[in-house]
C-alpha cells in the first residue's frame, strides 16, 4: 500500500498512529512493560495475603477501597481477581506483546533488511487493537463485582456463573481484541519474512531470532482461532444464556440452573489448551531467539549447530499442537489417550533438550564477554533448564496425580516464563537498546539489576516446588486452612519477601531505562561488533531503516573467521 502523503508527518502520525515498524515496536515494548509492571503489582498484593493470611491490610484497604477489603482483611473474591488478572496480564498483555509485538516488530524487519513490514497499516492496526483490548481488561476492575476471578484458564461452568457481573464478560471481549491483534500481527510477520528478505538472505542465513519469530507467528495464526471460537461460545453462555459448557442437571447455589443444559465443560478445556499449549512456545521461542543472538555475539563464535537449532524449532512448532491434553490428565482421560499425550510430551522434550544443549555448547571455545545482555542470557540457560526439567513429572500422568494443580505446576511454568523468558527479554532490551536509542544503557546499574533479579526470582519460585511436593493446591486464598499447608507456610513467607525484594530490584532497571535516554554513552551503528543486518542501519534507524539497501553475503553468525583481521564478519560486508 503506497502512501503518497508522508512528507512531513505531524507528531500524531509520527509517534501515535505511526506506520513505522520501529515506532510500533517501541509502542508495544513500552506498553507491555507497563502491563508487566501492573501484573507484577497485582502479584505483590497477592503475596501479602499468601504470606499473612489473617493479616491486617488496612494500608491496602485505604488504596483499593471497600471493593476488595473488609475491616483490613482481603476478600477471597478480590484475591481471585488478582490471581486471574495476574495470569492473563502477564501472558497475553505482557510477555507475548513484548516478545512478539515489541522485539519482533522492531528487530525482525531490520534483521531481514526490509524497509518496513509488508503491511505497515495493518501493523499499526494490530497495536491499536491490542491496546484497547488491554484497557478493556483493566477496566473490568472498576465494574460491579470486579474483574474476572475464575483463573486465567476461565474454566466453565465456574466462569459461566454470575453472568450479572461484567468482569468475566469484559475479559472475554478483551480476549477477542487481543486475539484479533495477534492474528493481524502474525499474518504480517509471516508475509514479511517470506517476501521481504533482502538479496542474498536465504532461509538458512536467517538469524535464529527471525526463525523463532517465524514459527511463533504460525503458532499464533493457527492456535488462537480455536480459543476465539471458545471465547465466543463462553460469551454466548454468559450473555445469551446458551449452555455450550453447561451440562444437564446443574444445581448452583442450591437452585437448579435455569439453562437448557446438554453442554460439555471439557470442551472449553480442549479448545483452551489447544491454544494455550502452543502459547507456551509462543512465550519461549522468541526468548530462545534472543538468547541465541546474544550468545553468538558475546562468545565471538558461531552458534553451535545452527541447522539443528532451526530444525528443532520447526519440530517444536508442529509438536506443540498435539500435546495439549497433558494439561488434562486428571479430567478422567482414557488409557489410550493418556498414553498418546504422555508420549508426545516426552517427544517434545527432545527438541527442547537439543536447543538448550546447542546453546550451552556454543559457549565452548568462545571468548566470552560478560556484559549485561550476556549475563541475562547466560542465566536464562539454567533457569529455563529448571523449568524444562520440572515439566517431566507433570508430563507423566502417574506422577501428575500428586502434583497436578499444586504449587509445583506454578513453580514449573514460572521458571519457564519468568526466570526463563523474562531473563531473555531483559537481555534483549539491554542488547538492542543502543540500536533503538543510539545510546548504551548503564553497565553498573544493569549488573545490579541482573544480580537482584536472578537471586530474588529464584527466591520466589524455588519455595513453590517445596509447597507443591507437600501437596498444597494452587489458587488457595489461605493455605493454612490445611495441615499440609501450615507445615510449609514459612516457605510461602520466604517466597513473598523475595517477590517484594524482586520489585525493589527492578528500580535500577527503570532508572537505567529512562536515564540512559539522556545520559547513556552515544554509540555508532554497531556497538557490539555484531554480524546481523540490524547493525548495518544507523542507530536509531530512520523511517525506511537503511541508508542504502544491504546485500547479504554470508550466514548470520560468522565470528572469528580464520584469516579475517576482525573477529566478526558481518552479513552485509563484502569481503574477499
Amino acid at each position: 500500500m503506497s502512501d503518497h502523503e508522508h512528507h512531513d508527518p505531524g507528531f500524531i502520525r509520527k509517534y501515535v498512529f505511526s506506520v513505522d515498524h520501529k515506532v510500533i515496536g517501541i509502542q508495544y515494548t513500552v506498553t507491555s512493560l507497563l502491563f508487566l509492571l501492573f501484573g507484577f503489582g497485582l502479584m505483590m498484593i497477592m503475596r501479602a495475603q499468601l504470606a499473612y493470611p489473617q493479616g491486617d491490610f488496612s494500608f491496602l484497604e485505604r488504596i483499593f477501597g471497600e471493593a476488595g477489603f473488609v475491616g483490613g482483611a482481603m476478600l477471597p473474591e478480590f484475591y481471585n481477581q488478582l490471581g486471574a488478572m495476574h495470569g492473563t496480564i502477564m501472558v497475553f498483555l505482557g510477555v507475548v506483546p513484548l516478545a512478539v509485538g515489541g522485539f519482533g516488530n522492531y528487530v525482525m524487519p531490520l534483521q531481514i533488511g526490509a524497509p518496513d513490514m509488508a503491511f505497515p497499516k495493518l501493523n499499526m492496526a494490530s497495536y491499536w487493537v491490542y491496546l484497547p483490548g488491554g484497557l478493556i481488561m483493566l477496566s473490568s476492575f472498576f465494574v460491579e463485582g470486579g474483574a474476572a476471578q475464575y483463573g486465567w484458564t476461565a474454566y466453565p461452568p465456574l466462569a459461566n456463573t454470575q453472568p450479572e457481573y461484567l468482569g468475566q464478560t469484559l475479559w472475554l471481549v478483551g480476549m477477542v481484541f487481543l486475539i484479533t491483534s495477534s492474528l493481524l500481527g502474525s499474518v504480517n510477520f509471516i508475509v514479511t519474512i517470506v517476501q521481504l528478505r533482502v538479496k542474498g538472505l536465504s532461509f538458512f542465513r536467517l538469524p535464529f531470532f527471525v526463525w523463532a519469530q517465524f514459527i511463533t507467528s504460525f503458532l499464533l495464526l493457527l492456535a488462537f482461532p480455536p480459543l476465539e471460537a471458545a471465547g465466543v461460545m463462553q460469551l454466548m453462555d454468559r450473555v445469551a444464556g446458551t449452555s455450550f459448557f453447561m451440562p444437564d442437571g446443574l444445581v448452583i447455589g442450591g437452585r437448579p440452573a435455569n439453562v437448557a443444559g446438554g453442554g460439555n465443560p471439557l470442551l472449553w478445556q480442549h479448545l483452551f489448551w489447544f491454544l494455550a499449549h502452543p502459547e507456551v512456545y509462543v512465550l519461549i521461542l522468541p526468548a530462545l531467539g534472543i538468547v541465541g543472538e546474544v550468545i553468538a555475539n558475546n562468545t565471538r563464535k558461531p552458534l553451535w549447530g545452527y541447522r539443528s537449532l532451526v530444525y528443532s524449532v520447526i519440530f517444536l512448532g508442529f509438536m506443540s499442537f498435539i500435546v495439549w491434553a497433558h494439561h488434562m490428565f486428571m479430567t478422567g482421560m482414557g488409557q489410550t489417550l493418556s498414553i498418546f499425550f504422555q508420549t508426545t510430551t516426552m517427544i517434545i522434550s527432545i527438541p527442547s533438550v537439543i536447543i538448550l544443549t546447542a546453546l550451552i555448547l556454543s559457549l565452548w571455545g568462545g571468548s566470552i564477554r560478560f556484559n549485561v545482555p550476556m549475563l541475562f542470557a547466560l542465566s536464562f540457560l539454567p533457569m529455563f533448564g529448571i523449568g524444562g526439567l520440572t515439566g517431566l513429572p507433570l508430563g507423566l500422568a502417574a506422577s501428575d496425580i500428586q502434583l497436578h494443580d499444586t504449587y509445583y505446576v506454578i513453580g514449573h511454568f514460572h521458571f519457564v516464563v519468568a526466570p526463563g523468558t523474562l531473563m531473555a527479554l531483559f537481555a534483549g532490551i539491554y542488547y538492542w537498546y543502543p540500536k533503538a536509542t543510539g545510546r548504551m544503557m548503564n553497565e553498573m546499574l544493569g549488573k545490579l539489576h541482573w544480580i537482584g533479579t536472578l537471586v530474588f526470582l529464584n527466591g520466589v519460585f524455588i519455595p513453590m516446588f517445596v509447597q507443591g511436593l507437600a501437596g498444597v493446591s494452587r489458587r488457595l486464598y489461605d493455605q493454612t486452612w490445611y495441615e499440609h499447608g501450615k507445615e510449609v507456610q514459612n516457605w510461602t513467607v520466604a517466597s513473598s519477601w523475595s517477590a517484594w525484594l524482586l520489585g525493589i530490584a527492578q528500580i535500577p532497571f527503570i532508572l537505567n531505562f529512562f536515564l540512559s535516554l539522556r545520559a547513556g554513552k552515544k554509540v555508532g551503528e554497531n556497538p557490539w561488533h555484531a554480524t546481523t543486518l540490524e547493525w548495518a542501519a544507523p542507530s536509531p534507524p530512520p523511517h525506511g531503516n537503511f541508508t542504502s539497501e544491504p546485500v547479504v553475503y554470508r550466514g548470520p553468525y560468522e565470528y572469528s573467521v580464520p584469516g579475517d583481521s576482525e573477529d566478526y564478519s558481518p552479513q552485509f560486508v563484502q569481503k574477499a
Partner: protein, 260 residues
C-alpha cells in the same frame, strides 16, 4: 534407596498404590538433579576457561560434541524407560484396575458442591438410592429420591470415613462447577466434573485423621473446601455406619454439617 530426595518434602503415604507414584517421582528428581549438576559443572568450567581475556581468541570451529549426543541419547532412553516401565503401568493400575467384588470394596458417592464435599453412603443394602437434581434442597443435599426403596437406608455426611486395609471405590460427581478431589496422603487426585460420574479407587494402610482438599479453583471459598478424612479400624467404621443409619439419631449428621 536409603538416601532419598523427597522424603521430608512429601506428605506421608498411607495408600497401597502410592509407593509407585513416589518411586517415579524419586527417580525423576534424581534424574533432574543429575542433569542439572552436569549442566552447572559444564557451564562453570566453560565460563571460566573461555572468558574473554588478553591473548585469548575464540575458535571458529565447532567442537565435535560427541558427549552431547551421548547425553541426549541418555535423556531419551531414560524418558522412554520411565514412560514405558513406570508411568504408564502405574497410571493404568490406578485408573483401571478397580478392585473386584471379591475384595468387598466400600462404595461411596462423592457429590461436590460449592464449597463442600457430600459423602453419600449406600447404607446397609449397598445400593445407592436414585438422585435427581430437582430434589436438591438444604435438607437433601444430593437430591435423594426417597420414593426409591434403595434410598431408605442411604445417608449423607460431610466427612469421609473409610475402613483400613479394604479397598474403597468412589463415584465422583459435582452439582455445580468443576472441583478436584485430592487426598495428599492417599496419592489420589481426580477432577470432579459436573455432568459426569467418574469412578476412582484407593486402599488405606494406616488409620488416622487426614484432610481431603479441593485442587481446582471452584469459587470464592475454594480455599476452605476441605473435608475431614478418617481411616478407621473395621470396628470404628461399623460404629460410624450404625451411628449414621437413618432412623437412628440424625443429630450427629446435622452437627457435623454445621462444622463445615
Amino acid at each position: 534407596m536409603d538416601f532419598t530426595l523427597l522424603d521430608g518434602l512429601m506428605p506421608k503415604d498411607i495408600s497401597t498404590h502410592g509407593y509407585q507414584i513416589d518411586r517415579l517421582l524419586e527417580y525423576l528428581h534424581w534424574f533432574m538433579l543429575l542433569i542439572f549438576i552436569g549442566w552447572a559443572i559444564f557451564l562453570t568450567y566453560t565460563l571460566v576457561k573461555f572468558r574473554a581475556r588478553q591473548g585469548h581468541k575464540a575458535s571458529y570451529d565447532e567442537i565435535k560434541a560427541k558427549p552431547s549426543k551421548y547425553a541426549e541419547i541418555f535423556v531419551v532412553a531414560f524418558e522412554l524407560v520411565l514412560l514405558v516401565g513406570l508411568a504408564v503401568p502405574t497410571f493404568a493400575y490406578v485408573r483401571t484396575d478397580f478392585p473386584g467384588k471379591d475384595k468387598n470394596p466400600v462404595e461411596i458417592r462423592v457429590v461436590a458442591e460449592q464449597f463442600q464435599w457430600n459423602m453419600h453412603y449406600p447404607g446397609e443394602d449397598g445400593v445407592f438410592g436414585k438422585t435427581r437434581p430437582d430434589l436438591v434442597a438444604s435438607d437433601n443435599l444430593v437430591g435423594l429420591d426417597l420414593s426409591d426403596p434403595a434410598a431408605g437406608d442411604d445417608f449423607v455426611v460431610p466427612t469421609m470415613h473409610v475402613p483400613v486395609d479394604r479397598p474403597v471405590v468412589l463415584q465422583l460427581s459435582s452439582k455445580d462447577v468443576i472441583h478436584s478431589f485430592f487426598i495428599p496422603v492417599m496419592r489420589v487426585k481426580q477432577d470432579v466434573i459436573p455432568g459426569m460420574s467418574i469412578p476412582m479407587w484407593f486402599e488405606a494402610t494406616e488409620t488416622g485423621e487426614y484432610q481431603i482438599a479441593c485442587a481446582q479453583l471452584c469459587g470464592n471459598n475454594h480455599f476452605r473446601m476441605s473435608a475431614q478424612f478418617y481411616v478407621d479400624t473395621e470396628k470404628d467404621y461399623a460404629a460410624f455406619l450404625a451411628e449414621n443409619a437413618p432412623g437412628g439419631d440424625d443429630e450427629e449428621e446435622e452437627e457435623e454439617e454445621e462444622d463445615e
